[in-house]
């Protein structure tokens, strides 16, 4: 039990230099939280003091950041000015990860959505861009490529998802290619409504009316079939 406790403590310590520093200043708190022998306690306090520990902190942060940079590219562009404070807050709120990329991006998306809902995060395009990243990742990680819409006549392509956005989807995605948070926000037309996003290495966006979108989301037959979606084999 003791070695296990030592390992849990070390895993917590390498997740932030502040944690190690706090335990070093107040070793009693380390003993309170973990069931350690005196030798293990001294080992941990000795390790915290080592200069090389900064590599552990750095690698922990790099490893947790990697899935976000790979799979939440648009979102990270938007939040770039506040990236590090947000990441530290995220890691504090979600200290444990399975290290599966799908889980990690899901945790981060939930974290940002909660902050947006609570009015704590107000950045241009963020909510829309987060919805787009979520949809793209849902497609990427749908390994069985099982579509979620399947009526008697038409099935939504497995690489397509329905999202609700405030801005015009195509214009927003194009703006994100060169988006720089340090520059004035680009002029993206406001066009609230539903969009079908199709991603197969390249993203295509189709505006759809509410009735169509709701039918697709609720897995009902689509009454007024949009020809463009059929022609482009998005409804198959």
């Amino acid at each position: 039990m003791s070695l296990k406790s030592f390992q849990e403590a070390l895993a917590e310590i390498i997740s932030s230099p502040l944690i190690g520093q706090a335990y070093y200043k107040d070793p009693a708190s380390l003993e309170q939280k973990y069931s350690l022998t005196e030798k293990e306690r001294n080992r941990l306090l000795g390790m915290i003091q080592q200069k090389s520990m900064k590599a552990n902190y750095m690698l922990y942060q790099m490893n947790r950041l990697t899935p976000l940079t790979m799979l939440m590219n648009y979102t990270l562009k938007i939040i770039h000015p506040q990236l590090m404070p947000l990441l530290h807050e995220f890691w504090k709120a979600y200290p444990r990860t399975s290290f599966q990329f799908k889980d990690e991006i899901g945790f981060f998306s939930d974290f940002l959505k909660k902050k947006i809902a609570a009015g704590q995060l107000d950045m241009p395009f963020l909510e829309d861009v987060l919805n787009i990243d979520d949809a793209l990742n849902d497609i990427r990680f749908d390994k069985d490529e099982t579509s979620y819409v399947n009526d008697d006549f038409f099935t939504l392509h497995p690489l397509a998802r329905v999202v609700h956005l405030t801005y015009d989807a195509t214009a927003l995605v194009e703006a994100m290619v060169t988006y720089d948070a340090a520059q004035p926000a680009p002029d993206v037309p406001v066009a609230p409504g539903y969009y079908v996003l199709y991603y197969s290495g390249r993203l295509r966006c189709y505006p759809v009316d509410a009735a169509t979108a709701e039918a697709l989301l609720e897995r009902r037959a689509v009454e007024d079939i949009p020809e463009e979606l059929v022609d482009d084999e998005i409804l198959i």
Binding site: A11, S52, M58, T97
Partner: protein, 297 residues
């Protein structure tokens, strides 16, 4: 197919075209199945999902080269925890691909605390070189070996903090572990080099203290500096000192089966395939210089 002897490389997706461009540089391919699997978590039905397209590629490679498996998910160093479902998945993969050997690292990365499901430490952390860790890890390796039925190798760890007041030195620990578990040593020379640079010791003295008769595979790789530390980033070219270490140890590694080059996929566009081939050819030259008839399967 005979047990591979010679030069291999760890598979990653960015290398896919390499196998047709430079097939003669490779005698075997080392696969880390974890990077091609989505783990839904312990207890989940259909827990380990394979990415269909990438596994098709692996099946193609398996027709052309012997495969060996290098795992990162046994988390052998985790106290009071063994992921039996992970082993079951390894057994399934083994049935399909007939890996010639399996290996994993001397470290821990998975933990369970309280009622929480398994969580990941996000980097491989060191275990104390004590008798307690040794007995615990040896028992796990024995179990894996018994189930899989092939040789199993343990890889020496790269670490970024030294655990004070250990009962054994690292060479003593590795020697005793190989004896107690009946496994081989996967000697990662770049890990030794990284540790020697960060903790100021002579890597040649370190490898001389090892029982090189237990070494069955050697890893070589490149790294880079960040934040004042030298990292095992698998960034491309193998440092000259690591080549010298390979030349130094190989004549005494009488049980060696292969030398494996590791390169991270993110560095492939930067270094290019020709550079990868050059590293493998350089390894082969050293291999040819020291190989004996017993090295040829």
């Amino acid at each position: 197919m005979n047990t591979p002897t010679g030069i291999g490389m760890i598979y990653n997706i960015a290398l896919d075209p390499y196998f047709d461009l430079y097939p003669h540089t490779l005698d075997y391919i080392e696969l880390t199945p974890d990077i091609l699997i989505q783990d839904q978590g312990p207890g989940q039905p259909g827990r380990f999902l394979q990415v269909a397209k990438e596994w098709e590629m692996i099946r193609g490679l398996a027709q052309r080269w012997p495969l060996v498996a290098h795992h990162i998910g046994f988390s052998l160093g985790s106290a009071d925890y063994f992921d039996k479902e992970y082993l079951d998945n390894v057994l399934q993969l083994h049935d399909e691909f007939g890996f010639h050997w399996h290996s994993d690292h001397l470290s821990y990365s998975k933990l369970i605390q309280g009622d929480d499901p398994e969580y990941n430490t996000c980097l491989a952390l060191p275990v104390p070189y004590d008798k307690e860790s040794l007995d615990m890890i040896a028992a796990k390796i024995r179990l894996i070996k018994e189930q899989v039925g092939t040789p199993f190798f343990i890889e020496n760890n790269v670490y970024f903090a030294e655990i004070p007041d250990e009962e054994l030195t690292e060479p003593e620990f590795l020697k005793n572990l190989c004896q107690e578990a009946g496994c081989g040593l996967l000697l990662d020379l770049h890990n030794v080099y990284v540790n020697s640079r960060n903790f100021n010791f002579d890597p040649f003295t370190f490898v001389d203290a090892l029982d090189l008769g237990t070494v069955q595979e050697i890893h070589i790789a490149g790294g880079n500096e960040a934040g004042g530390m030298y990292l095992d980033s698998h960034s491309g070219a193998v440092p000259e000192e690591v080549w010298q270490m390979l030349d130094h140890v190989l004549p005494r590694c009488t049980q060696i089966r292969g030398i494996t080059f590791e390169v991270d996929e993110s560095y492939i566009p930067e270094i290019g395939f020709e550079s990868v081939a050059n590293q493998l050819n350089k390894a082969r030259n050293i291999w040819n210089k020291h190989k004996t008839p017993q090295h040829v399967a």
